[in-house]
Amino acid sequence: MKKLNTIGKSKKKIDALSLATGSAKFTDDFEIKNSLFVSFLYSPHAHAEIKSIDDKDAKLMEGVIDVLHYQNVKKQKLHTTAGQGYPEPSPYDTVMFDKKMRFVGDRVAVVIAESKKIADDAVKKIKVEYDILEAVFDSEKALEKNAPRIHGEDRYMPIPVKYEPERNLAAEVEIGFGDMAKGEKEADFIIEKKYSTHYASHAAIEPHSVASFFDEMGRLVIVTSTQVPFHVRRIVSKVLDYPLSKIRIIKPRIGGGFGGKQEVFLEPISALITIKYKRPVKIILSREEVFESSRTRHPMKVKLKTAVKNSGEITALSLEALLNTGAYGSHALTIVSNAGSKVLPFFNKVKNIHFLGQSAYTNLPIGGAYRGYGATQGYFALNQQIDIITRKLDLDILEYIKKNHIRTGETSEVFKALGEGTEGVTQVIHSCEMDQCIDKGAKAIDWYKKRDKRIEPKKDKVRGVGIGFSMQGSGIPLIDMGSASMKMNDDGSFNLYIGATDIGTGSDTILAQIVAEVLGIELDKVIVLSSDTDLTPFDVGAYASSTTYVSGTAVKKCADKIKDQILKVASQMLESDIENLAVGNTKVTDTKNNKSVSLAEVGEYSLYTKDQFQIQASASYVPKLSPPPFIAQFAEVEIDKKTGKIRIVKFVSAVDCGVALNPKLAEGQIEGAAVNGICYALTEEYKFSKTGKLTNKTFSDYKIWTANDMPEMETIIAESDEETGPFGAKSVGEIGINGPLPAIANAIYDAVGVRLYHAPFTAEKIYEEINRIK
């Protein structure tokens, strides 16, 4: 392979120092003079209809500008808050203010005031009378006949897919191929198990934040903590029927997203207030509001049936996934689809497959995009089932996975059959280092010395190891689009304008590295401006593990075009044939006679000397494929047999991310995702009262780990070369969160012989199961 200068190097993140010194600005850090503030009133009931709202006392208060609710916000448009490609594959079931309340935390009204304190005081003075309706919280019960109906007849899907709100069905997708009955007949035994995963919060440390104001030209500017600036512009324009050309979205630094900021539920309110009262406004959610009223990870129930020969061959596989989408159907179709589309291709030799994905409306908080996006839930089931099968047949699970996983040059019928809720795209795997992931990961955890050994380091403490394998994707083929534009300056530096949305991942840095590599320059010669809808070209935003692969390819195409223009100018300057010219070391050199001109000289010449023009280019990219990254994750756990208390001793992730453009940033993605997944497996869980009220909406009651809770972590990059990706790269923003849940469950079984089908794995559950099987 060609020696690379910038790619593959752990370059410092270009915004890191400004963040570490506190000078980088997040949404709430912008000083906006004369700003209004808001306070929301939320429904205390899980299912109710508003009988009356009395806002007189609130409006009477000094400093209160107005109170908005369904009675005074007219002509509201149904929409989805899911910031997805257009038309969105999510039901149009949401308005800004509704008469009907569908969960505890649903929005009743907003008070607009001169200060946050006044708004908070005024909101307490609003009197609301409700007609309380019967509520339903369980996804299976919600789909039963006679279950209370949550959404009305006006709700609809903007794309032609199954949607039946009359029976609380927010989405349904079914595929199958081969012959299930024949497959089951060929098998020696059948294993059918039910698994379930739970509600969780993204818990980005920066709460959802938005500020809006009119600029001096009268255009509406929205500064917002978002993963999807261009979708925000479109959705705000459509919801408010306000010209898109008059809206500018600016994405400042974003304090983490993980899917939670792929939702457009505050920007329309903020824009409405600025338009209506001609004043700037800031909306910053409290931590409690983030927990209860923003978005969550959808709980999922998975029924997994595998027909298996004594050789281990799976002759038929049926996966039925039921998503609890909560009160609204944001991502309800696509997440449940992903439990099939990202999971079933892994064992592509299975000839007979059935997949049914359904999403049910309930009266609980709203689900949404969350790192892993359905694959996390699906792999929880598949990984445990493979552990069960290989244990029953006394097979080495690692060898079993290595023998059966999809490989380079192979395909799966699932790719074509199932995409984003509709048909997918035929794909062949161009790179897969799953075997290397398994071998290196197993070595790091010392698998064969620990598996089935039930080592007891101390009295009553027993250890076990488990694996969680998975694949994800790199963007959404034929749907996602990234683009870039560039110009060259007279000192040989370049401006790079990208719609790609750095939410803390480091995408500004790796995209700049791509430019630096193509043009043979240092990273500091690339000036990055990202995600300002007035200044940068379009990009769908930061989701679906798309940025490195999709936006990265757009950037590379753009830089290639710039390079062509540079070579043309240089050939004029050097009087050389273009074919003899090469860029590198910040200059263009004629390889025949070694004469060269610096890039600064080229820049200056193009702008000031002869046949002047601006060296500039733009490029877009829509991927035909979504090359999956692969990962093998290993947990070693220690369980106190007396109490069920669990401790993670060590956690290993070995990932195939293609070529790691910036190894430290790639590792950072995996480490962060893995710890998020470990907390999800052990401590993070929404707890509800019998009436559907979230009871643990603070960080003291909803436990995410601190450094002090951390086990030994090891992250291994098992590089492959993805020929379709920019410099061989695939995307790895999500995949690291899939393994912890099953790896820990499998390790618990290895240690104490109990199988936990229902996450999270609390000490109480482990204790109960240990005692049950005694």
Binding site: S10, K12, K13, D15, A16, L17, S18, L19, A20, T21, G22, S23, A24, K25, F26, D28, D29, E31, K117, H202, A203, A204, I205, E206, P207, R253, I254, G255, G256, F258, I284, S286, R287, I503, G504, T505, G506, K664, L665, E667, G668, E671, G672, A673, A674, V675, N676, T698, F699, S700, I704, W705, T706, A707, N708, M710, M713, T715
Partner: protein
């Protein structure tokens, strides 16, 4: 109310409400490097040094600390003259979204002031009051170890 504070080595007179928390006062007066992530004393994004002690400024009533010394992350080092800790965080890849980073830098500064050569366990304890959702703490711990090494070398 109006009160005097010594912020990053300079006297400042700030306006604040009687029941206001220090994080709000600081942010309202332009010290936006102090972040606000939870208002419950759990996430640590608002961490500052108050008379040389690391505290969650969301748990401090402004009125109760008039006249005291406050050090924010910008007082430790800024973009032009960054502190070793900040440079080490950058080198280690400890900064992802960076919203929690000011708090971690403050906690690290407090640690290394009292203990120049902390063990990994001491490091983990020192940043137990700070949450990070992006990094999984691995590279933050690396950054603190590197900062400690650099500071010791500089002393030699």
């Amino acid at each position: 109310m109006k009160g005097k504070f010594i912020i990053n080595g300079k006297e400042k007179y700030l306006n604040f409400e009687a029941d206001e928390r220090l994080v709000i006062t600081l942010r309202n007066n332009g010290f936006t490097e102090v972040k606000n992530g939870c208002m419950e004393g759990e996430c640590g994004a608002c961490m500052i040094l108050l008379d040389d002690k690391a505290v969650h400024s969301c748990q401090v009533l402004t009125a109760s600390v008039q006249g005291k010394k406050i050090l924010t992350v910008k007082g430790i080092g800024d973009l032009h003259i960054p502190h070793v800790i900040q440079k080490s965080f950058v080198e280690a890849g400890a900064v992802q979204c960076g919203f929690c980073t000011p708090g971690f830098v403050v906690a690290t500064y407090a640690l290394l002031k009292s203990n120049q050569n902390p063990t990994e366990t001491e490091i983990k304890k020192a940043i137990d009051g700070n949450l990070c959702r992006c990094t999984g703490y691995v590279k933050i711990i690396d950054g603190i170890k590197n900062a400690s090494k650099t500071i010791q070398k500089e002393r030699e």
